[in-house]
């Protein structure tokens, strides 16, 4: 039997979450050692005897037995969760108590507790995302550094520091009676949103990395929906947004890994099943009074996902959704996207006017898509020379090879003698 893809990585997150609950979050390193041990054991045994019928259960059982060994050996040396400390007094109660902790429902709850714990208010958003990836998704420092196109040392430092803060908090986040639940939920949603975007806009050249991060964000958001308290309209909208975007992720790049613009994308490659799921989630999110930016972003993604092509897109709906987004969460990037939508609706000259009116546009100094948007609209207005200057600026600002190649193509489009149809 072949183990499923990323089995170890996923089980790592589940096992660490359970073990950190048993040993206490201040013994996170011990929990990680036990998980490492379980994998070493699996590697040793499976290579000779083959993969067991239920590999997840095998790993969990191995981790459980190792946890019992550790508890018996170190019963006086460490302070575990108070409840467990009591059970530890007798072998009669210890084994069943630990076994109970390894029940399916407990494993889900423990992952959620860990997810909320990782979003500790003392940690920066970047640190929260890195910690979730490391603890709950089983990514090593090296793998996170590769995905974020960051140095190993920087990520190592970020994670070590974060784990110290997590350990110092002494306790995992408890949902029952938590006064700061709403604030913590907002932080969790935000971290998952950033994790997804990190994948979606990843500077990493490897498409596998991008899909991995997006899929992990989707997996954890699905998990979040399983917690009744967290299953809010905003969480539904967040997952809807991820579904719409993940459905179209692979079409953002062509066979050679080059970035494709919306109009160049092959829409037959979009994952219809995911789009349908996104639609269902978006419908479910339409309850209550709250309209979060996740609702609006998901609605925009839905309009794109349901259009047969760029021309058929309901740009009026998109413009009004961007208006709403600007009202609750104004930012130069959103203003820029709104201007591009207006250009689709009312022509490139109107779009250019809107771009010129963006407040704070100096914040775009290092954002290549601002120059690219100007280039695109100038090109459509027939001012090729001007368009080329803008694309050259975008090229100068490009942050990765995919962007570089994309802007190079746009520069040459300005030189082409054939008339521009867009």
């Amino acid at each position: 039997m072949e183990p499923s893809e990323h089995l170890f990585r996923r089980e790592a997150g589940r096992m660490v979450a359970v073990l950190a609950r048993i040993f206490g979050v201040h013994n996170l390193a011990l929990a990680e050692d036990v998980v490492q041990d379980a994998f070493c054991r699996a590697l040793e045994v499976w290579k000779f005897r083959g993969v067991p019928e239920n590999p997840s259960a095998w790993l969990m059982a191995t981790a459980k037995n190792r946890a019992l060994d550790v508890l018996r050996r170190e019963r006086t040396a460490r302070t575990h969760e108070p409840e467990l400390a009591r059970w530890l007094e007798s072998e009669w109660t210890l084994a069943p108590a630990v076994a109970e902790r390894f029940g399916a429902n407990e494993i889900t709850d423990d992952q959620l507790r860990m997810m909320f714990s990782c979003c500790h208010p003392k940690l920066s958003e970047e640190a929260q995302v890195a910690l979730i990836l490391n603890i709950l998704c089983g990514f090593s420092v090296g793998e996170i550094a590769a995905a974020f196109v960051c140095s190993n040392a920087a990520i190592e430092k970020r994670i070590t520091r974060s784990k110290k803060i997590l350990a110092a908090s002494k306790k995992l986040f408890e949902f029952a009676g938590a006064r700061d639940f709403a604030a913590r939920l907002t932080a969790v949603q935000r971290a998952l949103y950033l994790l997804f975007n990190e994948g979606y806009h990843s500077a990493s050249a490897a498409s596998a990395v991008r899909a991995d991060l997006c899929q992990e964000a989707v997996r954890l958001t699905r998990l979040l929906l399983e917690l009744p308290l967290a299953s809010t309209p905003a969480t539904h909208a967040l997952l809807a947004l991820m579904c719409f975007n993940l459905a179209r992720l692979s079409s953002r790049f062509d066979e050679s890994g080059d970035l494709r613009s919306l109009s160049e994308q092959d829409r037959s490659g979009w994952d219809r099943k995911l789009i349908a799921e996104g639609q269902l989630l978006l419908d479910r999110s339409a309850t209550g009074k709250e309209v979060s930016h996740y609702h609006l972003e998901a609605a925009i993604a839905a309009v794109h996902s349901n259009a047969a092509n760029v021309e058929d897109t309901d740009w009026a709906a998109i413009v009004s959704l961007y208006d709403a987004l600007m009202a609750i969460r104004p930012s130069p990037v959103i203003a820029l996207n709104r201007a591009i939508a207006i250009a689709q609706l009312q022509g490139p000259e109107r779009g250019l006017e809107e771009i010129r009116e963006i407040a704070d546009s100096e914040r775009f100094k290092s954002y290549p898509f601002y120059a690219a948007a100007l280039g695109e609209l100038e090109l459509r207005s027939g001012r090729r020379e001007l368009a080329r200057t803008h694309f050259e600026e975008a090229l100068r600002l490009s942050r990765n090879p995919a962007e570089r190649k994309f802007f190079e193509r746009r520069v040459s489009a300005c030189l082409a003698p054939a008339p521009v149809e867009r």
Binding site: H6, A42, E44, K47, F48, R49, G50, G138, F139, S140
Partner: protein
């Protein structure tokens, strides 16, 4: 055909990421499968715990293992069938243990006519 024992030597304790360990495991599975399909495997063998007891000498003194340096500890064995030692050595070269700088000790099973 002759029989050979492959003894896998090398540290089993490594700090690799879960993804890397899974990849390593899959390489082992693929290698074992290939050997099996080619009819080289008499018995896939067993993994061995890396520690145990050593009972030695006339006094039958009992000491705790491990008995060798980590890189020399035997982590498992496989019983292989091959034409001769040269072929057995060739077969061993596909072993993924070399990725982690481990070693395969190839030992012919003594042929005895009784």
């Amino acid at each position: 055909m002759s029989q050979f024992v492959f003894l896998y030597r090398g540290s089993g304790q490594d700090r690799r990421s879960p993804e890397e360990m899974q990849k390593s495991m899959q390489k082992w599975l693929a290698w074992m499968k290939e050997l099996g399909e080619k009819g080289y495997i008499q018995s896939p063998g067993h993994p061995l715990e890396r520690s145990g007891k050593l009972v030695s000498g006339r006094s039958k003194a009992v000491t705790d293992g491990p008995f060798a340096e980590a890189k020399d500890v035997v982590g498992g064995y496989t019983l292989v069938e091959a034409r001769d030692i040269n072929q057995a050595v060739e077969i061993s070269k596909g072993c993924p243990i070399f990725d982690v700088d481990g070693a395969v000790e190839v030992r012919p099973v003594m042929k005895i006519d009784m």
